[in-house]
């Protein structure tokens, strides 16, 4: 969608420059003031990983992390992201290596059509972040289900998604424990 939309004389377009960080990269992007963050990501920055399933907050396919918190980009104004940090599914893996969640989702069949997956992964990533910060992390199925409560999946019945998040969460806990018991901790 071109930024410079043809001018309807009756309704002058208002364009603003949004400065934000996306997946660690700073951008200054021109966007019409009535654009959503999802539109900015998909059509301006070409980050099409974030999906649109309902466009009004009902499905979670557009979930991104905004300053670390799962957020529905389809009902967030692009301008609301001014000065903030956005993480999308494109930024999950590090240095070409898949994130543990991506690996677990892939191996365990947690994505069928994959359309809910980017949003699912972002909500899951936040769950792992929280878990990693907990003093004594415990992985509970009901916490996982609650963390994913805003992401609809029509294919999987959620079963394999729960399994994949659980496996990645167990890895997180193991890492946390290993750190705690590591050379420094043991000494």
């Amino acid at each position: 969608m071109p930024i410079a939309e043809p001018l309807d004389p009756a309704r002058a377009r208002r364009i603003a420059v949004v400065r934000l960080h996306v997946n660690g990269q700073a951008y200054a992007v021109a966007a019409p003031t009535h654009w959503t963050l999802l539109e900015l990501l998909r059509y301006q920055l070409g980050l099409v990983g974030s999906k649109q399933g309902c466009d009004k907050g009902d499905c979670g396919a557009c979930t991104v992390l905004l300053d670390g918190l799962p957020t529905l980009s389809c009902i967030t104004l692009a301008l609301s992201a001014e000065g903030r940090h956005v993480e999308t599914v494109e930024g999950l893996g590090v240095g070409g290596e898949p994130h543990p969640l991506q690996r677990q989702f892939a191996e365990r069949g947690a994505a069928q059509c994959g359309f809910c997956t980017p949003g699912m992964l972002m909500s899951s990533a936040h769950y792992l972040d929280e878990l990693g910060r907990a003093a004594s992390p415990v992985v509970r199925q009901q916490d996982i289900a609650a963390a994913l409560g805003g992401n609809l999946c029509r294919c999987t019945g959620y079963t394999k998604i729960f399994e994949a998040v659980q496996a990645a969460a167990d890895e997180t806990c193991d890492r946390a424990r290993a750190l705690a018991d590591g050379p420094g901790g043991a000494a």
Partner: protein, 334 residues
């Protein structure tokens, strides 16, 4: 894609600037907290605005603090913050519960307390696309001349579907309202229950220049118990089909009074006084009578998209269960 219409955006970082913008915009500006109610409604063409006033940056709307016997919550706190805040969980657990049951995790991260209290009313004939509403021929709340919920009715009876409003009313909360007038900030404070009007097209009694700044709730003493309960078909995402809060004031082991606040009926929560129950023991029959009271005095309408008759049947059960959960061990013993 469902597109937003064109509008301006302002992002003040001071309350005065925000209030000035509102005052200057000649009713064209809409405060935007999380936008989780406003933006879907604007996308559906149900609400129009010339300017979105982003409240996120306004520091005066943030914070949760103890002020004497009250807990003060800025209108700009997100529902996730309200639900997780230790002070809220301690002092106003029913509010924390209500906040934690709103919508979905993402929405609770975005949505603000102020927005939840100023939430637009909901109805199956209005929360639809422009195309749908045109095919319907509109209604009092859009471009039409009749109400489909109450045929022949004179006013819109769309439902206030806020989960935190019943809980906060049960805590006797008041809201702090500010506006820019005569080159200065004017403030007023009203009981939350009085914020709402019975006209579903204009159910929040705020001038277009006014902002909700914060909520003040007296921290209940040991002789007061407050609880909240919500029912919706799904355990996440859904708006409430029943949202009730109960305040129970005790005299020793017996009830002394309190109130039952029932949401999702019409444009304002129904507040039922419980003085008549003074002296009752916290026993199952009292809980049942509270349910009966709700049944007798409240009539859920076919405004929100679910079978109204069933909601009516279910309401007393939810009230009774809420009461029993507040009675705690006492009910089990008797």
């Amino acid at each position: 894609m469902l597109r937003l219409p064109v509008f301006d955006v302002a992002a003040p970082d001071k309350l005065t600037d925000a209030l000035r913008s509102l005052a200057d915009s000649q009713a064209g500006a809409r405060p935007l907290g999380g936008g989780t109610d406003l933006l879907p409604n604007v996308k559906l063409g149900q609400t129009r605005m010339a300017m979105a006033l982003l409240l996120r940056g306004v520091g005066e709307l943030r914070g949760i603090e103890r002020r004497g016997d009250n807990l003060w919550l800025g209108a700009g706190n997100t529902l996730a913050q309200v639900a997780q805040d230790e002070q809220v969980r301690d002092a106003l657990p029913a509010l924390a519960h209500a906040a934690s049951r709103v919508a979905s995790p993402q929405i609770r991260n975005m949505a603000t307390l102020g927005g939840n209290l100023c939430l637009d009313t909901r109805c199956r004939y209005i929360n639809q696309s422009e195309f749908w509403r045109q095919a319907l021929g509109g209604c009092l709340k859009s471009h039409g001349s009749e109400c489909h919920v109450v045929p022949g009715g004179q006013g819109c009876v769309a439902a206030l579907s806020s989960d935190t409003a019943p809980a906060l009313i049960a805590y006797d909360a008041t809201v702090e309202i500010a506006s820019w007038r005569d080159e200065g900030v004017q403030t007023r404070e009203v009981p939350l229950a009085e914020l709402y009007d019975s006209d579903g097209t204009r159910h929040v009694r705020l001038e277009s220049t006014e902002l909700l700044v914060g909520v003040r709730a007296p921290v209940p003493g040991l002789n007061v118990r407050v609880g909240h309960r919500k029912w919706a078909v799904r355990k996440s995402i859904d708006f409430p089909l029943i949202s009730v809060a109960l305040r129970l004031e005790l005299d020793g082991a017996l009830a002394a009074g309190g109130k039952l606040v029932v949401g999702v009926l019409g444009p304002r929560p129904r507040v039922l006084d419980l003085k008549a129950f003074a002296g009752r023991a916290l026993a199952p029959d009292f809980a049942r009578d509270l349910g009966q009271l709700a049944f007798d005095r409240c009539r859920p309408l076919p405004n929100v998209p679910y079978d109204a008759e069933y909601r009516r049947e279910r309401l007393p059960v939810e009230v009774r269960r809420l009461a029993l959960s507040l009675f705690g061990d006492q009910a089990a013993q008797s």
